[in-house]
């Protein structure tokens, strides 16, 4: 059974590229066009295994989206990865405080992305 990944990125182009790359990497993909949609999809899909969020989105940023998902019952341990051109220390540190498992800088590399997602899912299983 493929792992279900929730991606949130306001760029349709990036969403499409991510979907293709992750489907090719063996994931089942749910795609949200903004943070609000991402929260709804997380609510509707109890089996999301991992989250990939853009940092800069027009409604709420990716970290806020993840924070709100983590506040839902049973969602706190879903590993999340933020994808962004931002790499300022204070923003990355905020990501760590929120509890995300990895920060990836754009432009992303598909193979590294798939590897990183498998790594954070495996790390969660080990803890469980």
């Amino acid at each position: 059974m493929p792992h279900k990944v929730l991606i949130a990125d306001d760029s349709e182009l990036l969403r499409n590229q991510l979907m293709k790359d992750l489907e090719n990497g063996g994931f089942q993909v749910l795609a949200a066009a903004n943070g609000g949609e991402g929260i709804l999809l997380a609510k509707e899909n109890p089996d999301v295994a991992v989250i990939v969020a853009d940092f800069n989105m027009p409604d709420i940023d990716g970290l806020t989206m993840i924070e709100r998902i983590y506040q839902m019952r049973g969602k706190k341990d879903i590993p999340a990865l933020v994808l962004s051109t931002e790499s300022s220390q204070h923003i990355v540190e905020r990501g760590r405080m929120v509890g995300i498992r990895a920060w990836m800088t754009k432009p992303f590399n598909a193979a590294k992305m798939v590897k990183a997602l498998h790594a954070v899912i495996a790390a969660r299983k080990e803890v469980a």
Binding site: T85, S88, F108, K112
Partner: protein, 198 residues
């Protein structure tokens, strides 16, 4: 094509370095988004190189503040073609919003590479005071500009031009002096997707 205006008081060395960084960053972003074979990407890069050089519109160094304005322009048809290739769709299926999105994302990726170049430049000089060089660079701001109304997109007599503008605002003196001494030959930039695990 945008007017080729270089307004600068910085040295030729720094200007040339930054210019090449912009060009290389754009080419890398272009290649990644077009997702062709390596040979196709290289051919594309060579064809585009001359155009990219004209897109660096303003490099200014004044009062210890380095400001780079880097415009990237696409006509609507070329943006549609660009998006079609990136999305693997028919050009006729690419509407204006998707074309805008693709140019914006291109710019975003170019900024990502440019930041890496500037970070790598510190490492090349081995400046121990600069352990986190990228954090010394104020956030690169990407804006999609409308020259006619200060809003989103520029309309012209020839149709719609999509224009991205990258601002880099660097105030750190060490970064500024570093730019004088580094050439691209000193630098190596990863192919993207560097990951920090927590």
């Amino acid at each position: 094509m945008s007017a080729h205006k270089i307004n600068t008081t910085t040295s030729d060395g720094a200007r040339a370095t930054i210019g090449r960084m912009c060009v290389e960053s754009s080419l890398k972003a272009f290649s990644i988004m077009q997702r062709g074979t390596e040979a196709e990407q290289n051919a594309c890069d060579v064809a585009r190189l001359k155009e990219f050089e004209h897109w660096i519109t303003s490099i200014v160094l004044a009062h210890n503040c380095f400001k780079l304005t880097f415009h990237v322009r696409f006509s609507l048809p070329s943006a549609q073609q660009f998006a079609a290739k990136a999305l693997d769709r028919e050009v006729s299926k690419i509407d204006l919003n998707l074309a805008k999105d693709s140019v914006g994302e291109f710019c975003n990726m170019a900024v990502g590479h440019l930041k890496r170049y500037l970070g790598e430049a510190h490492n090349a000089l081995g400046d121990s005071a600069m352990t986190t060089p990228i954090s010394k660079i104020n956030d690169a701001k990407m804006a999609v500009m409308d020259h006619s109304s200060d809003q989103t997109w520029m309309l012209s007599a020839n149709g719609i031009n999509l224009c991205c503008m990258i601002h880099l605002d660097i105030r750190d003196p060490a970064t500024l002096s570093m730019l004088e001494g580094v050439t691209l030959e000193h630098l190596s930039v990863s192919d993207g997707g560097d990951v920090i695990f927590f």
